[in-house]
């Protein structure tokens, strides 16, 4: 989508898909693949922003986690059904 002239491009948020792996911080199209990262994501929150690769501040509580990138905002996920 092309933004209208004068309308700033929306800044992608942490929870959106991005170019970097949230677990290892490497490029998603890395030829080595991210099988281990996918498995690891079952047991831990992302540590890197998928848009800029910055290390995020991550707070884990008994029922949720919150990951915050200084540029791309926060995402919170409940881990209890």
């Amino acid at each position: 989508m092309v933004a209208d002239a004068g309308t700033p491009e929306p800044v992608p948020r942490v929870g959106d898909a991005g170019a970097w792996c949230g677990q290892c911080g490497e490029a998603r199209d890395d030829a080595a693949g991210h099988d281990r990262c996918a498995a690891r994501a079952e047991l831990e929150p992302p540590r890197f922003c998928v848009h800029c690769r910055r290390r995020m501040r991550v707070q884990v509580t008994p029922g949720a986690w919150t990951a915050t990138c200084s540029r791309h905002g926060s995402v919170e996920r409940s881990t209890w059904s």
């Binding site: 290892c24 911080g25 079952e42 047991l43 831990e44 929150p45 540590r47 890197f48 290390r55 995020m56 501040r57 991550v58 707070q59 884990v60 509580t61 008994p62 029922g63 949720a64 986690w65 881990t79 209890w80 059904s81």
Partner: protein
């Protein structure tokens, strides 16, 4: 037969444990724990069944459920080689503090599961004035809002800090030995085993309950694992949390393989036989090491306490799965204030 192995005397260690631990309530010695750790996979089910009998006889069927939360994450000056929160390694974990409203919210979430314990943890060498003030405010806020026992884990303490925590109403303090004395220098170099023991002893003398356990699967020998069990038994903590190494990226132990499940379960049973009257808690690493079936096997093999929900920096099982399993196994959740 103190000091001799069952192998040396020609007796079967499980027969010895049945008579000694189940029959008379006498814990296994270090040498006997080592014999148990050396039993083969063909004896595992018998071993777990015996450990379960011991648990039921001396601790009953109920299970203590606890939630834990990190008040201060990351940036720790210590170099515990298993820990992603050390500031000395290239771990991706960044420093972050939890505020009081979030702390109370986490305690409420935990209490909603039926848990009787909520442990506040900080990644520090020992608490400074800022952390103690945060604790004072946080514990008071939790006690005003939630019906749950508050525990703490803030590293090494001074006597004054022990007294302050008692004054706040903290009823249990966690400070793990982490490893047997002979293996400890391979795990931590920034403080000594004796410094850890000093805090443990001060906590016990204060009237707070002592929670003191360790990690297994860090490359220690079976002798060193048995040594940890014996040293914990000598300390007589109220609770022993048993962690299985979850290799963290960027830490010195980050490339170690997870423990074999049978090895982990054998360790659970061996620790129960060394600590028949102690709360033995499944702590970190059980999901990675043992998966769903392992949780069941452990609860039927000596474990009588679990951490519900997430850990400090990693995720745990959905509490509903653990609670449903306890229901299925007819193991009631320990009520608030109930003693084993």
């Amino acid at each position: 037969m103190h000091g001799m192995t069952a192998q040396a005397t020609g007796t079967d260690i499980l027969d010895v444990a049945r008579e000694q631990v189940l029959g008379r309530g006498v814990p296994l010695t270090k040498e006997q724990v080592l014999d148990v750790l050396r039993t083969g996979d063909d004896r595992l089910q018998d071993l777990l069944a015996l450990a379960h009998e011991v648990r039921l006889r001396y601790q009953g069927p109920s299970v203590e459920v606890e939630g834990i939360v990190s008040l201060k994450t990351g940036g720790c000056p210590e170099d515990c080689h298993f820990c992603s929160q050390s500031g000395q390694f290239t771990s991706p974990v960044r420093s972050v503090w939890l505020n009081i409203p979030e702390l109370v919210r986490a305690a409420k979430q935990t209490a909603a599961t039926g848990a009787s314990e909520f442990c506040i943890v900080a990644a520090v060498r020992g608490p400074d004035d800022r952390l103690m003030e945060q604790m004072r405010e946080g514990v008071a806020a939790i006690k005003a809002a939630v019906d749950i026992e508050v525990a703490a884990s803030l590293g090494m303490l001074t006597q004054h800090q022990v007294d302050e925590l008692v004054d706040m109403g903290v009823h249990r303090y966690n400070h793990n030995l982490e490893a047997g004395r002979s293996f400890f220098p391979r795990v931590v170099t920034t403080h000594s085993y004796d410094e850890r023991l000093d805090t443990c002893r001060m906590v016990k003398e204060s009237g707070m309950e002592l929670c003191c356990g360790g990690l297994v699967g860090m490359g220690e020998t079976l002798e060193q694992r048995a040594e940890l069990a014996a040293q914990l038994a000598e300390l007589e903590p109220h609770e022993v949390p048993l962690n299985f190494l979850n290799p963290r990226p960027g830490t010195p132990f980050g490339d170690l393989p997870p423990m074999e499940p049978a090895d982990a379960l054998r360790t659970v049973a061996a620790f129960r036989l060394a600590l028949p009257r102690t709360i033995l808690r499944y702590a970190g690493g059980r999901e990675l090491t043992l998966g769903d079936l392992g949780t069941r096997d452990g609860l039927l093999g000596g474990i009588n306490a679990v951490i519900v929900g997430n850990y400090l920096t990693t995720l745990g099982r959905d509490p509903r799965e653990d609670l449903a399993l306890l229901d299925e196994l007819e193991m009631p959740i320990r009520a608030l204030g109930e003693t084993f």
